[in-house]
Amino acid sequence: MSVTTEPRQASFRIDMLWTDSRYRSTFLQIIALIAVMLAAFWLVNNVAQNLANLGKDFGFGFMTTPSSYDINQRLIDYTSRSSHSTAAVVGLLNTLLVAVLGCILATFLGVTAGVLRLSKNWIVSRLMTVYIEGVRNVPVLIQILLLSAILDEVLPHPKTAEALLGGFVVPTNRGFYFPIPTFQDGSLYVVLAFIASVIGAIWFGRWATRRQQQTGEHLPVAWIKLGLVAGVTLLTYLVMGLPIGLEYPELKGFNFKGGIYARTSLVALTLALSIYTGAFIAENVRAGIQAVSKGQTEAAFALGLRPSWTMNLIILPQALRVIIPPLISQYLNLTKNSSLALAIGYMDATGTLGGITLNQTGHAFETLMLLMAFYLSISLSISFVMNLYNEQVKLVERTSVAGGGFSVLALFAGVNGKWETLKKGDATMQPNYGVAGWLNLVVLLYGATLVMMLYYLFLDQSEGRDSYYLWGTGKQAITLFLTVFSATAFVTAIFKHYRFIDMAAAELVVFILAVLIGLPFGEMTFGLLDTSVVVFGGLAARLATIGYTVFGARPNVTYFYRVREGSGS
């Protein structure tokens, strides 16, 4: 006969809340939750009282009133009679313009300087050190102000200005003038030929990679690609009788007319930001190249690879793994630093939304909220992309667990093999890229949806429709959610990442919600299609993509690296 002893039931004491690990975590979280809620309540209450005392109301209606200020550098149609929201969009586009131009230029400068700093050439590497250390340690605001002041003072008046680089740029103290391409009859074919040859080059690249993995034979891929694109495009250009020309800016009266016009503030800002960020990128590039151990080069040479192949096949893939994450955060810094445009009068998002609109309307709360939301969405999408990239190139180690939390995939895990990222030990090289090709259709679908959503949200101010800022909160929120989920599904599908299906499923749910609250989808397609066609077509397309990717052949989720063969271990 066995005697079972009940363990003595410990009576609950109040101090067990913070000493016993069974209760401590819950207890602390509840305390934190209460504290945060109290703080939030206090802040919101203060804001409400302060706004009431000042007689201000909270709302975005002011965004639809005429802005009555002029913006001298713009990418879309805008006059001082346009609304504040259009002015904001002009500002946002200007920010993105500086960011894109700056990132390209900064990458060019940074990669050059970083590689040259490692050069054996003593004088060149010293010069690059002087550039990097000199620029990195001076506040970027001073550099922007100085460059802008120099351009204003040094450059000639339009009347005395001369064209440089064979007429390609005319610098004046009013701004820079570049020639603009003009499209005549037949230029469409040139553009089509260009796109087709680019697609052909990509296909050729995939084929060459596959061939190299199977046979070990190496083709001069870059040259063939370049020849393909340039050759086909040039040939069409000649056959069609030179349909694309350049229109050069001409001096008429006191100013230049025609061509592309960039204000000195835009040029100064772009240059200063890219010089500054380029110095940081140079350091990242240098660190990345130095991070690849010397044994890798020696091993490649021992295998008989040529120096150029060693660079392309051995060093760069490993160095990029180190270089790209800090590179992307430098892009992010550049974008955030572009808000300093305010100091030199370039009308970016901070200048329009956070500057003149704020001062004119006095709605500091709403404008700053919108401004922060804009910058936040840029930086969150950039870090989202970066996280996806990091997940892809990460070395798989013993501690790594693929994903966490809920995933739509988990529901279908048993249906048709596994969608897994793999363990390091039992991996072999995956010979091909799975259904990557078919996912491109999904990319196109989400790209088109995204463009339509953005156009519908911010640009289209047609007569029959209220502005986004005047809608009900529910409709605003649903539209924003739909846009955000389209964007995330778009990006993850581009990366051919398995998270794409979760995003697509979430987007489907939001889409159905949007239909339920009666979002007028017909307006989104420029009035070409009936609402019901858009709704049912959209539902069918979304269900098809999700169903296809869940039940069809698996896209290779580990695009770059290695996958486990079979399902057993």
Binding site: S25, L28, Q29, A32, L33, V36, L43, N46, V47, Q49, N50, L51, N53, L116, S119, K120, N121, W122, I123, V124, L127, E133, G134, R136, N137, V138, P139, V140, L141, I142, Q143, L145, L146, A149, I150, E153, K336, N337, S339, L340, L342, A343, T350, G354, L358, A364, F365, L368, L371, M372, Y375, L376, I378, S379, L380, S383, T399
Partner: protein, 377 residues
């Protein structure tokens, strides 16, 4: 082997090594190896030398030889240069720095009280010493802890010292106040945020992640706008306080998010065995964090903290956008005066060099730390 009779010749000693060819030693070899190694390198070398020759002598000439240190205005400068070097020659007009030096350093701080910020600065170095150098006696940390209060009264006055208005504080003094306060106050907040982000408690982790990602996602300038126009809305009606204090609060929040990421890097760099060992010793969370984890993680992240400080110190120039008179904010008022209208390079260069000296020496210090930490691990 020793003495074969039929060997014609046996060397009786070692033959001295012959000198290496001239191309393999000395300056010529160095030149060939480092400057003229191949066609591309030779072209690069020649281009660099041409660039240096074209740029450096005129700059030296402009800055030092033709530079003027004593004059009352820009036109005065030009007269001095014209008298010394002939008509039409240009030179740097450093007289503006000479005249406005105190303003660029102290802003509009009353000149008879300059000893107070200077004393505060010297005391700051003394207060930092026990933090930076672990060999100093520990009781000095009490002085470091008391320093912020002393510095406040030294700079703003009170307690029998003459009161100085915030509006009078400017120049480099303001940058140093904002930068140092921001970094010191952000360190504890950053540690808490980093620990919270590592935590397994979902809700606390979420709060920390949202805070960090929000702050890091928006430019500092929007936070400064919040400080200048919005912060008063968040406080009970009728509260209003100094703009510098509001800016310091926002800068502290800004820096603490970056600090949290730096410290999180330190926590992540720590070997997993350290956490497991602390658990195995039976230490609870706070003890293991305080005694095992943080000392090591903070040590690893010191270079990162210094880099954050450099970034923050450079970013203090942004306060000029909301109207505070830091060195950059003083440039336009000086350029707008009748005497110095039209001056450009000298002022910008001076401020740039001022910041460069601070930031460059700090970045060297952080590199030195990095090297030191690498070898002893």
């Amino acid at each position: 082997m020793s003495s074969e009779p039929n060997v014609a010749f046996v060397a009786s000693g070692q033959i001295p090594p012959s000198a290496p060819p001239a191309s393999e030693v000395g300056p010529i070899h160095w030149l060939r190896a480092n400057l003229f190694d191949g066609v591309v390198n030779s072209i690069l070398t020649v281009a660099s030398i041409v660039a240096i020759v074209l740029l450096v002598p005129p700059l030296v000439d402009w800055i030092f030889i033709k530079g003027v240190w004593n004059a009352g205005s820009l036109s005065g400068c030009r007269e001095v240069i014209a008298a010394a070097h002939g008509e039409g020659v240009t030179g740097a007009c450093w007289a503006v720095i000479n005249e406005r030096f105190n303003q660029l350093i102290f802003g509009f701080y009353p000149s008879e009280l300059y000893w107070r910020p200077i004393l505060a600065f010297v005391l700051m170095l003394a207060a930092l010493a026990p933090v930076l150098f672990s060999t100093l006696p520990r009781w000095m940390l009490w002085f470091s802890a008391a320093y912020p209060i002393a510095a406040y009264f030294l700079i703003w006055g009170g307690l029998g010292l003459e009161v100085v208005e915030s509006g009078q504080i400017g120049g480099l003094l303001l940058s140093v106040i904002i930068g140092v306060t921001g970094i010191v106050a952000s360190l504890p907040i950053g540690i808490v945020l980093a620990l919270g982000r590592q935590s397994s408690m979902f809700f606390i982790k979420t709060i920390c992640v949202v805070f960090i990602e929000f702050i890091r996602g928006v430019p500092l300038i929007t936070l400064l706008f919040v400080a200048s126009v919005l912060l008063n809305y968040f406080l009970p009606p009728g509260t209003s306080f100094d703009l510098i204090l509001r800016v310091v609060i926002m800068v502290t929040l800004f820096a603490s998010a970056y600090m949290a990421e730096v410290i999180r890097g330190g926590l992540a760099a720590l070997d997993k065995g350290q956490y497991e060992a602390a658990d195995a010793l039976g230490l609870n969370y706070w003890k293991s964090t305080r005694l095992i984890i943080l000392p090591q993680a903070l040590k690893v992240s010191i270079p990162g903290i210094v880099n954050t400080f450099i970034g923050l110190f450079k970013d203090t120039t942004l306060v000029s956008v909301i109207g505070l008179l830091d060195p950059v904010g003083l440039l336009n008022p000086i350029r707008a005066t009748a005497a110095w209208n039209g001056i450009l390079w000298e002022l910008y260069l001076f401020v740039a060099v001022l910041f460069w000296i601070f930031c460059f020496s700090m970045s060297r210090y952080s590199m030195y730390l990095e090297k030191k930490l690498k070898t002893d691990r």
